[in-house]
């Protein structure tokens, strides 16, 4: 039987490890999805500055697919750019035209300009990339770029 102190130490270390793992998972998930919204008009000043743009990225054989939740946008206010192995989504989420009518009781939603840079699992080609905005979800499909293959650099002795 383990000495009580040893067992307690073991339990403490397990709990600690659990906390550390949990914290890392939480930070990874929260930090990347939480996005700063810069107010672009006086009305947007009244909203939250931090919003969550929850994103799924999946990889298929020949494509990389991204889905971002950005409800309440105008299609024209969204910008989608492919930069090698990164996808850059930016835009402005506007407050509704009637926001100033009446009084705001409670606000949790974020408005303003935002930008999210997503690392992709490989290089993709901007040609053939398709983006759709539907029901508040932006879907982007990108074909993998096969022309870019990593070039091995031999390391010589100096």
């Amino acid at each position: 039987m383990a000495h009580p102190t040893t067992r307690n130490d073991h339990e403490t270390s397990k709990t600690w490890q659990w906390l550390v793992n949990g914290w890392h998972a939480l930070r990874d998930a929260a930090v990347s999805a939480v996005t700063y919204f810069t107010p672009a008009s006086e009305q947007q000043q009244t909203s939250q500055r931090w919003g969550v743009i929850a994103t799924d990225v999946t990889e298929q054989q020949d494509t990389v697919h991204v889905e971002l939740e950005i409800p309440g946008m105008n299609k024209a206010d969204l910008s989608v750019e492919v930069h090698g192995d990164h996808l850059v989504i930016s835009g402005e989420k506007r407050t509704s035209a009637t926001r100033h009518e009446g009084s705001l009781v409670f606000t949790e939603r974020a408005y303003g300009r935002f930008k999210r840079v997503l690392p992709l699992p490989c290089e993709v080609s901007s040609e053939g990339t398709q983006a759709k905005y539907r029901d508040g979800v932006l879907s982007v499909s990108m074909p993998k770029d096969r022309s870019v293959s990593p070039r091995a650099i031999p390391v010589d002795r100096g």
Binding site: D56, E101, S103, L104, D135, G136
Partner: protein
């Protein structure tokens, strides 16, 4: 008559989440599949009527349920991860699936029969009109 100091009188008479953001909405569940979450809302009052906007991106109208009962407005939704999307490997997974429930207490003058709800571009718009004649009236004391 004594009143208790609250952050906002309006908040008090309308918005009463059953459980605070700190208890329910901590982002530890951001990637969880099954546990409840709280979609963001804006609530506005105009002339005794209320309008609620809740962010429900990717939800179909059939997946959302709005109900007014005993002065409480309940908004709930449930969705499941699309199976056709699961082909391919997840590199990143932040979107949430499962069930959410939010409840708001309706003000005394709300006309629950005339509540209207519609989803547009991933935003649920609910309007709660005020029923006529429910504005506070001054009663003369004789």
């Amino acid at each position: 008559m004594s009143t208790i100091d609250r952050p906002s009188g309006l908040l008090d008479d309308f918005y009463r989440p059953f459980g605070s953001l700190f208890r329910e909405g901590f982002p530890s569940r951001l990637v969880s599949d099954s546990e409840a979450w709280l979609p963001a809302v804006d609530i506005k009052r105009n002339d005794g009527a209320y309008s609620i906007e809740m962010e429900v991106p990717g939800f179909n109208p059939e997946e959302i349920d709005v109900e007014a009962h005993d002065g409480v407005l309940t908004i709930q939704g449930e969705r499941h991860s699309e199976s056709d999307k699961s082909e391919g490997d997840f590199i990143r997974r932040e979107r949430r699936y499962g069930k959410f429930v939010r409840r708001f207490s309706l003000p005394a003058g709300a006309s629950s029969d005339a509540i209207n709800a519609q989803v547009k571009e991933g935003v649920l718009h609910i309007s709660v009109p005020s029923s006529n004649g429910n504005d506070p009236k001054k009663i003369a004391v004789e």
